[in-house]
C-alpha cells in the first residue's frame, strides 16, 4: 500500500480499510511497508504519551507509535519480566524488544519513553538491557509548569534528545530540518483536528473506530504519506451525509496510552453512544494550535508542550487542572455523559477516576467507568453495561 497522491484511493471506506490493515501490523511490518517506497528508511519507536516526533522525523527516521501489540503478538518471554499486575502495553512492548521486532535488524534505530508512570520508566530501563545495540532514550517531561524555570528546562531536555539522536544517526539535525518537520506535523494535526470536528458536528459522518484507525495509521507511516491520505479521507467524510441517530453523546476519557481494541470503540457506539470527544492517541495531536515555524524550533516545541498542549492524565499542571480540562471538554463538545475508560492496571487513569468522578458528580454529568485490555476479544458484557447506561439516560 502506498498513500502517495494518486487516483487509487478516493473513498472513505477504502482508506479506512487500508488504515485498519496498517494498524494490524507489527512495528517492523509497518516500517517494511514504508520502506517499499523509501528504501533504507529506519524507524524510531515512540512510547505514549508524547515525544517530539518532529525531531525524530528531522533526523530522517520514521516515528512509529507504540500503542501495544494487541492480539498481534503472543507474549511469551515478557510475562516472566513483568508481573501479572502490570499493564498489558508494558508487557507487549517489552515482547517487541525481546523478539527483535524493534531491533536494529528490523530497521529500528531505537525508541523513546517518557516520564508518564512508574511502569514506563522501569520498562525503558528493562527494554534497554534486553535489546543491546538499540538506542533507548528517556525523556523527563516537566511536571511543574508553574515555575519559570520549566521553559528553559524543557528546551534543554528536547535539545538533549536532538543531540543524542544526531549522535546516534551520525549526522546533525539542523534547525531548518526541524522547522520543515514541524510544518508537516502541523498539517497532520490540522487534518486530524478537522476530522474530529466533522465527527462532532456531523454525527455519523465518520465512526470513532474508523477515525481512531486513521489516527493510529498516521503513527506508523511517514507524515508525508499521511497528509494526502487524510486529505482524501476528509474530503470523502465531508461529502458523507450525516446519519443522525438517537444516541447519547459521550466523551471517552482515559485511553491515552494503551490502545483499546477498535472493536471496543465500535461496541460503545453500537450500544447507543456517539463519541463526540476523546483522548485516544492524544500525544500525537496534543497541540491545540500550530507550533511556530520561525525562530528556535526546539524552543517552539518546548513552549508548545508547556503552554499549548491538551491536558493529560500523566502530567501535573497546576495552572490547568485536569478536572477543569475534562469539564471544558464536556462543555465544548456538548456531551451528555462521560465514559471513563482506563486500561487494566493503568494507575494514572485509575487515580484520575476519583477526581474526575467527583468533579462530574458536582456538575451533574452522568458517567460510567469501564476497563479494557489490548488483548480483549469479547465485548458482550461491556456492550450490555453501556446499553444499560445509555438507556438510563435516554429514557430517564
Amino acid at each position: 500500500m502506498n498513500f502517495s497522491p494518486g487516483p487509487a484511493i478516493t473513498s472513505a471506506e477504502e482508506i479506512i480499510r487500508e488504515c485498519r490493515a496498517l494498524v494490524e501490523l507489527l512495528p517492523s511490518q509497518a516500517l517494511a511497508r514504508a520502506r517499499e517506497s523509501r528504501p533504507g528508511l529506519r524507524g524510531f519507536g515512540v512510547f505514549p504519551v508524547y515525544a517530539p516526533q518532529e525531531i525524530i522525523h528531522a533526523a530522517g527516521l520514521m516515528p512509529v507509535g507504540l500503542f501495544g501489540a494487541g492480539a498481534k503478538l503472543e507474549t511469551t518471554r515478557a510475562d516472566s519480566r513483568f508481573q501479572s499486575f502490570i499493564c498489558s502495553i508494558a508487557r507487549s512492548t517489552l515482547e517487541l524488544f525481546l523478539s527483535g521486532d524493534l531491533g536494529r535488524e528490523s530497521g529500528f534505530e531505537g525508541a523513546v519513553f517518557s516520564s508518564i508512570c512508574d511502569v514506563a520508566r522501569n520498562l525503558c530501563s528493562v527494554a534497554g538491557r534486553n535489546a543491546p545495540g538499540v538506542y533507548v532514550e528517556y525523556l523527563h517531561l516537566p511536571q511543574n509548569a508553574a515555575t519559570p524555570a520549566a521553559r528553559e528546562y524543557t528546551r534543554r531536555e528536547f535539545a538533549r534528545f536532538r543531540d543524542n539522536l544526531a549522535g546516534r544517526v551520525g549526522r546533525p539535525i539542523d534547525d531548518e530540518a526541524i522547522r520543515r518537520s514541524i510544518a508537516l506535523y502541523n498539517r497532520v494535526r490540522e487534518l486530524i483536528c478537522e476530522l474530529y470536528t466533522q465527527r462532532q458536528e456531523r454525527p455519523g459522518s465518520i465512526r470513532t473506530a474508523d477515525l481512531f484507525a486513521a489516527v493510529l495509521a498516521g503513527t506508523c507511516m511517514m507524515p508525508e504519506d499521511f497528509v494526502p491520505m487524510a486529505e482524501a479521507l476528509l474530503a470523502s467524510v465531508r461529502e458523507h451525509a450525516p446519519v443522525p441517530r438517537d444516541t447519547v453523546n459521550v466523551v471517552l476519557e482515559g485511553a491515552f496510552c494503551e490502545a483499546p481494541p477498535l472493536d471496543l470503540i465500535d461496541a460503545i457506539e453500537s450500544a447507543g453512544c456517539q463519541i463526540v470527544e476523546d483522548d485516544l492517541a492524544i500525544g500525537w495531536r496534543i497541540f491545540r494550535k500550530d507550533v511556530p515555524v520561525e525562530g528556535d524550533p526546539v524552543a517552539a516545541l518546548a513552549d508548545a508542550y508547556l503552554a499549548g498542549s491538551a491536558y493529560t492524565s500523566v502530567r501535573h499542571d497546576s495552572t490547568r487542572p485536569r478536572t477543569r480540562g475534562l469539564l471544558e471538554r464536556v462543555e465544548a463538545s456538548r456531551a451528555d455523559a462521560v465514559i471513563l475508560a482506563s486500561a487494566k492496571f493503568c494507575e494514572p487513569a485509575l487515580f484520575d477516576y476519583v477526581l474526575f468522578r467527583r468533579a462530574l458528580d458536582e456538575r451533574g454529568v452522568p458517567h460510567l467507568k469501564i476497563e479494557f485490555e489490548e488483548k480483549m476479544w469479547t465485548f458482550e458484557r461491556l456492550r450490555n453495561e453501556i446499553e444499560t447506561f445509555t438507556e438510563s439516560l435516554l429514557f430517564d
Binding site: R81, Q83, F85, V119, V126, N144, T147, R156, R358
Partner: protein, 444 residues
C-alpha cells in the same frame, strides 16, 4: 531444619536501637498531635529524596503521609481505611499506601479531631515516584490546601547531574523557600540552613557507618527488618540534633556488637540482600520466616528510598541548597533506573558478601516492582546469584498468604543449604561467568 528451627522470642530483635528510635519518633509524633490542635505550621512531604531541611529552616513541621500509611499497616489498622477509599472510587489496583492515607483523611484522622495536622502546605517532592503526584493532588483537593510542586528530573545520564537539571531543581527550591517565607512571615536564613544541613550530614555519616558494619560476620543488625529503626530518623527527622545524636548512639551500639562478635541472630547461617518494601501488615510473621533459617539481611534497597548515603554522599553545609538538590536528583533509590538498581544490588552482594538475593514484589508500588522478573533473570542467569522472588503487598493485608510464603521461603533456603552440603560452591565457581567477583561466587 525448617521443622526444628524456631524464630527468636519477640523481644530479641535489636531492642536497644529500636527503643532509641521509638523515643525520637514518638517525640515527633507528639509534635504532630499538638500541631493538629494548635494549627502550628506544618507541611506534607514525601520520603524519597526529600528536602525536609528547608521546612525545618522555617520551623514548619514535616508530615509524611507515607509514614502514616506505614504505621497504619504495621499496627494492622489499614484495611478499614483502604476500604473507605475504595468506596469513593479508588481501584483495587491503586497503590494501597495512598488508599490507606486517603481513607484515614476521610475518616477524620487529619485535622483537629485527628492525630495528624491539616497541613498548611503540601510539598510534592516528585522524586521518581509518579504516584506521589497523584497522591498529593488528591490531598490538596480534598483538604483544600495549596500544593507546591518540586519536579525532580529522573536520572538519565548515569552518575552525572547536568547543570540544567540542577538549575531547574534549585529554582524550584527557591520557589519553595518563597512559599515558606510567605506562610511563616519569616525571612530565609542561610546560616540556619547550613546548621540544619550539618546535622543531616552527621546523621548520614552515622547511617553509612551503621550499614558498613553489616559487612562484618555476623552482621550486628538486620539491614531490612531492623533498618526501619534508622529509616524514621534519617528520613523524617533529618536535619535535627536529635537525629544526629540518635545515629551516634546507634553506631556506638552496633560497633560494640560487632567488636564482641554479636549478631542480629545467633549463628548467622545465610546472608541475604533484600529488594522491595516489606509486607508491613505481616512484618513480624514475614521476618520470622527468615529468622527460622538464621538468615540475616546485610543490605537492602528499600532502606535507600530516602538516600544512598552508604555510597558516600553527604549534605554539605558549604553548599546547602546545591547539596539538597543533588540529593534529590541523584542520591536516592527512587530517582534511579532499574539498571542502576541492579548495579546497586550487585555491589551489595559483592561488598557485603551475601549468599542470595530476596525480592519482595509488592503490587502497590510499581516503582519497585515493575520489571523485577527481569531483575531475577539478571541475577540468576547472568550473575549466578541465587534469587528468591515472593509477592504480597506493603499495605494491603489481603495480598499476604502466609502458607504460600512459607513454602517458597523454606524451599529456597533448603535448596541453598543442600548446595552447601554437597559442596556446590566449587561447582558454582566453574559455571559463573567471567567478571563476577569472588564475593558473588562465594555467595553461592
Amino acid at each position: 531444619m525448617p521443622t526444628t528451627a524456631q524464630p527468636p522470642a519477640a523481644n530479641d530483635y535489636g531492642s536497644v536501637v529500636h527503643d532509641l528510635s521509638r523515643e525520637v519518633m514518638t517525640a515527633w509524633m507528639t509534635q504532630l498531635q499538638d500541631a493538629a490542635r494548635s494549627g502550628a505550621p506544618s507541611a506534607y512531604m514525601m520520603v524519597s529524596g526529600n528536602c525536609v531541611e528547608i521546612l525545618r529552616c522555617f520551623d514548619i513541621l514535616p508530615v509524611f503521609p507515607e509514614i502514616n500509611a506505614l504505621q497504619l499497616a504495621i499496627r494492622k489498622k489499614a484495611l478499614p481505611y483502604i476500604l473507605k477509599a475504595e468506596e469513593i472510587g479508588y481501584a483495587s489496583d491503586n497503590c494501597a499506601y495512598v488508599k490507606a492515607d486517603i481513607g484515614y483523611t476521610l475518616l477524620e484522622g487529619v485535622g483537629e479531631n485527628g492525630l495528624t495536622p491539616r497541613p498548611s502546605l503540601i510539598v510534592c517532592n516528585f522524586v521518581g515516584c509518579n504516584v506521589y503526584i497523584k497522591w498529593f493532588e488528591h490531598c490538596a483537593e480534598m483538604l483544600g490546601v495549596p500544593l507546591v510542586m518540586i519536579d525532580v528530573p529522573f536520572v538519565r545520564q548515569g552518575e552525572a547531574v547536568s547543570t540544567g537539571d540542577l538549575h531547574y531543581v534549585m529554582a524550584q527550591l527557591r520557589g519553595l523557600i518563597a512559599a515558606c517565607e510567605e506562610l511563616t512571615g519569616r525571612k530565609f536564613d542561610i546560616d540556619r540552613l547550613r546548621e540544619i544541613v550539618g546535622y543531616s550530614a552527621r546523621a548520614e555519616a552515622g547511617w553509612s557507618r551503621a550499614k558498613d558494619l553489616c559487612k562484618t560476620r555476623p552482621a550486628p543488625f538486620d539491614c531490612y527488618f531492623d533498618s526501619i529503626n534508622m529509616m524514621g530518623p534519617i528520613n523524617a527527622l533529618r536535619g535535627t540534633k536529635e537525629a544526629a545524636d540518635f545515629f551516634d548512639a546507634a553506631v556506638a551500639h552496633y560497633e560494640m556488637m560487632a567488636a564482641r562478635g554479636l549478631g542480629a541472630t545467633d549463628e548467622e547461617q545465610f546472608r541475604v540482600v533484600f529488594e522491595g518494601p516489606p509486607p508491613y501488615p505481616y512484618y513480624r510473621n514475614f521476618r520470622n520466616l527468615f529468622a527460622a533459617w538464621k538468615a540475616v539481611c546485610v543490605q537492602s534497597t528499600y532502606s535507600t528510598v530516602g538516600g544512598t548515603w552508604e555510597f558516600g554522599f553527604r549534605h554539605d553545609p558549604d553548599r546547602p541548597l546545591e547539596s539538597i538538590a543533588e540529593q534529590m536528583l541523584l542520591h536516592n533509590l527512587c530517582n534511579r533506573t532499574m539498571q542502576e538498581r541492579y548495579r546497586q544490588i550487585r555491589r551489595y552482594v559483592e561488598e557485603w558478601q551475601a549468599d542470595a538475593l530476596v525480592i519482595h514484589s509488592v503490587k502497590s508500588c510499581r516503582l519497585f516492582s515493575a520489571g523485577q522478573g527481569d531483575m531475577r533473570e539478571y541475577f540468576t542467569k547472568e550473575l549466578g546469584v541465587p534469587t528468591l522472588m515472593v509477592e504480597s503487598d506493603l499495605e494491603d493485608p489481603r495480598y499476604y498468604a502466609e502458607a504460600q510464603m512459607k513454602n517458597r521461603i523454606d524451599a529456597f533456603f533448603e535448596s541453598l543449604q543442600y548446595k552447601r552440603l554437597r559442596g556446590s560452591a566449587a561447582e558454582a565457581r566453574s559455571v559463573s561467568p567471567e567478571g563476577v567477583s569472588d564475593a558473588v561466587r562465594r555467595g553461592r
